[in-house]
């Protein structure tokens, strides 16, 4: 294979691996929009908060990073449950302003709270020797173990959530609530509780995203909003239909970013945005839209 082609192949592979991470950012956002039509502007900051939670456990409590990650997942679930149950449920209704403005306020509070608690220093999760391992794919292309694992994690998370949605009683209740909240209540489904569980799941996924974000790149308290934007782009590009669509959307944004960066390193983020805008103009409902709305 010609060397130039290999370079581009490598670029696309790196983009798909990056897209896996973006899909992890996006899954929670997609989930809560699907179930309660809530757009959480603090989503990115909650991912960063989870990364700091893992960091705090690993550095200050001296726990192994993997164990800290395992602790963070249920902690974030509980946080999401409580946040929705006692704060965000009160914002839901016909008017879109209260949820938007309350989550925007939350975003600013989390960012500045993290700045206060952890300073503006750039951090990285300590994962020891794992960070250096790379897997050769042949032809001189090699991929890092963490990027590979983050894509695997995205696939596992989406598979797991789909099992939950399509194979369990809770999943049925979640889908029924997503279809029609009022009628779901006529089935004895407590929608407030369902919303809280959905937010719990979304933040548990945020913890997974945070682990891979923090172990493959650096983060600081102000990096949340950019994660929200990548997540949002992946959701819209994928279409509001399925989590697999969200994964595809993540790939589109990831590949656009690595291809852009290959042309000019300064164009990485811009290329992702441009890809998003092009999809929005050509296919406003994304690649895998819902069959009904």
């Amino acid at each position: 294979m010609p060397a130039a082609l290999l370079v581009w192949l490598d670029t696309v592979i790196q983009g798909i691996l990056l897209g896996g991470l973006y899909a992890l950012y996006a899954t929670g956002l997609s989930l809560i929009f699907g179930i309660m039509r809530l757009v959480n502007l603090a989503h990115g900051d909650l991912i960063i908060a989870a990364a700091f939670l893992i960091l705090a456990l690993a550095q200050f409590a001296g726990v192994d990073t993997l164990l800290a990650f395992a602790i963070a997942v249920p902690v974030m679930f509980a946080l999401g449950y409580l946040l929705q149950r006692y704060l965000l449920n009160r914002t839901l209704g016909e008017d879109i302003l209260p949820p938007l403005l309350v989550t925007f306020g939350l975003s600013i509070v989390i960012q500045n709270g993290l700045l206060e608690g952890f300073s503006a220093d750039t951090r990285r999760l300590p994962i020891g020797s794992l960070a250096g391992i790379s897997v050769p794919l042949g032809g001189g292309i090699a991929v890092g173990i963490m990027p590979l694992l983050s894509l695997a994690a995205a696939i596992v998370v989406i598979l797991g959530l789909n099992q939950l949605f399509y194979r369990t009683r809770l999943g049925r209740a979640l889908r029924a609530t997503s279809d029609d909240t009022g009628t779901a209540q006529l089935m004895g489904i407590n929608n407030q509780n369902i919303y809280a569980i959905a937010m719990g799941l979304a933040l548990a996924v945020c913890a997974v995203a945070a682990f891979f974000l923090g172990s493959r790149s650096t983060f600081d308290p102000t990096t949340g909003p950019a994660r929200l934007i990548y997540a949002f782009e992946a959701v819209i590009v994928g279409g509001l239909g399925s989590l697999w669509g969200t994964l595809a959307g993540g790939f589109v944004i990831g590949v656009a970013q690595t291809v852009g960066a290959r042309i000019n390193p300064e164009w990485q983020i811009l290329s992702g945005h441009v890809a998003f805008l092009v999809v929005l103009i050509l296919r406003p409902r994304g690649f895998f839209p819902r069959a009904f709305d």
């Binding site: 809530l38 879109i96 209260p98 403005l101 306020g105 600013i108 700045l115 934007i229 949002f232």
Partner: protein, 361 residues
């Protein structure tokens, strides 16, 4: 665009006490106009901050509080206005005063293609879409390296700012040095923009189109069936808000005399504070943002040296207001005492059967 023509008669019932209100309003405006005779530079600089933030807040309120367009990307137009002024002054060598107008025009022109993209997103997704648009403008402007300094930005030298139209007259009249004259000049410009903004928003909301806005906000489906062209009305409001926001942005950065993409397109500085002003003061009223700007100003005095705590307090306060008193501080006050300084409330009776109220209360 003729949106709020003063020639069109008030279509519905007149409000009382208008003469008294306008007299009081004119007195306050006159007092602020002559303030530079007595006031020191610090007060003028503080008021410059309050006036520009309040103008931004009025435009955001017009979008979110009246047209239902909840944008978190208005920093796009602050930044575009600022960069248009810098480009006009640095590249074309134009007077910065003209640059302010150019800032508004450039923002309005670029608002059109932006709207065509972000209007494809509904409701809450529109909000993040506007944010993406602002990021795109920020990243694109960072690419202009030789002319506008790229990512690190550029500044307006004294050779440009000191040549601004009218500065010599101010320096001579007030018998001050050029930096102090510049403070007075930008203070007057901020005051003029604020008064213009308030007049524009007031007339807009009292016009037939203002009524259409209230109808859209209250129910898009109902408004469409009443024949309100919602897309065109929203587009008009979006472009008007971009024009005003662009002019304010240009003025803010004329005063700072230094611009960079990260600062001019900052979501915290140009959108978060603005949203907090409107929400805390009271969304959907003209008075609300005024109250909010005053609260922001005093909180800043008390909390500025706590840095991050200032934003934490504002964010918490705004969220709490949204949950507990969605009409804000002004809403609480107006409800308690039934006061309206800028009444835009009117009743429209259709076929004598249904009544629509054009005022959020």
């Amino acid at each position: 665009m003729t949106v709020a023509s003063s020639a069109s008669p008030p279509p519905f019932t007149a409000t009382h006490g208008m003469a008294i209100r306008f007299t009081a309003f004119a007195l306050v405006a006159a007092a602020l106009l002559f303030l530079p005779i007595f006031a020191g530079r610090a007060l003028l600089q503080n008021l410059f901050f309050v006036f520009t933030m309040l103008s931004l807040a009025q435009y955001w309120n017009l979008l979110a509080g009246y047209a239902g367009l909840v944008s978190v990307g208005q920093q796009a137009f602050v930044g575009l206005g600022a960069y248009a002024l810098f480009a006009a002054a640095l590249i074309a060598g134009l007077d910065p005063l003209l640059g302010i107008l150019i800032g508004g025009v450039v923002a309005a022109i670029l608002a059109l293609p932006t709207a065509l993209v972000v209007f494809r997103l509904r409701g809450a997704y529109f909000a993040i879409g506007t944010w993406v648009a602002a990021e795109v403008f920020r990243l694109v402007l960072a690419q202009f390296k030789t002319t506008l300094g790229g990512g690190t930005g550029t500044s307006l030298g004294p050779d440009i700012t000191n040549q601004m139209f009218g500065l010599k007259w101010i320096a001579a009249t007030f018998d001050v040095r050029t930096p102090a004259a510049r403070d007075i000049a930008v203070y007057w410009l901020a005051l003029a923009l604020l008064l213009g903004t308030m007049a524009l928003v007031y007339l807009l909301l009292r016009s037939r189109r203002g009524l259409a806005l209230a109808a859209i906000r209250d129910s898009e489906a109902a408004a469409v069936s009443l024949g309100v062209d919602s897309f065109r009305t929203r587009l008009a409001i979006y472009v008007i808000a971009a024009f005003g926001t662009g002019m304010v942005g240009a003025l803010i950065y004329l005063q700072k005399a230094r611009v960079s993409p990260d600062a001019a397109f900052s979501v915290t500085d140009w959108t978060a504070y603005v949203i907090f002003i409107v929400v805390i003061g009271g969304i959907g009223t003209i008075e609300g943002p005024i109250v909010g700007a005053i609260v922001l100003y005093f909180l800043q005095d008390y909390l500025a040296h706590f840095g991050t705590w200032y934003l934490i307090t504002l964010g918490t306060l705004a969220a709490a207001v949204m949950l507990v008193a969605p009409k804000g501080l002004w809403g609480l006050f107006a409800q308690r005492f039934d006061v309206h300084v800028f009444p835009v409330r009117r009743h429209l009776t259709i076929s004598g059967t249904e009544e629509f109220e054009s005022k959020p209360d």
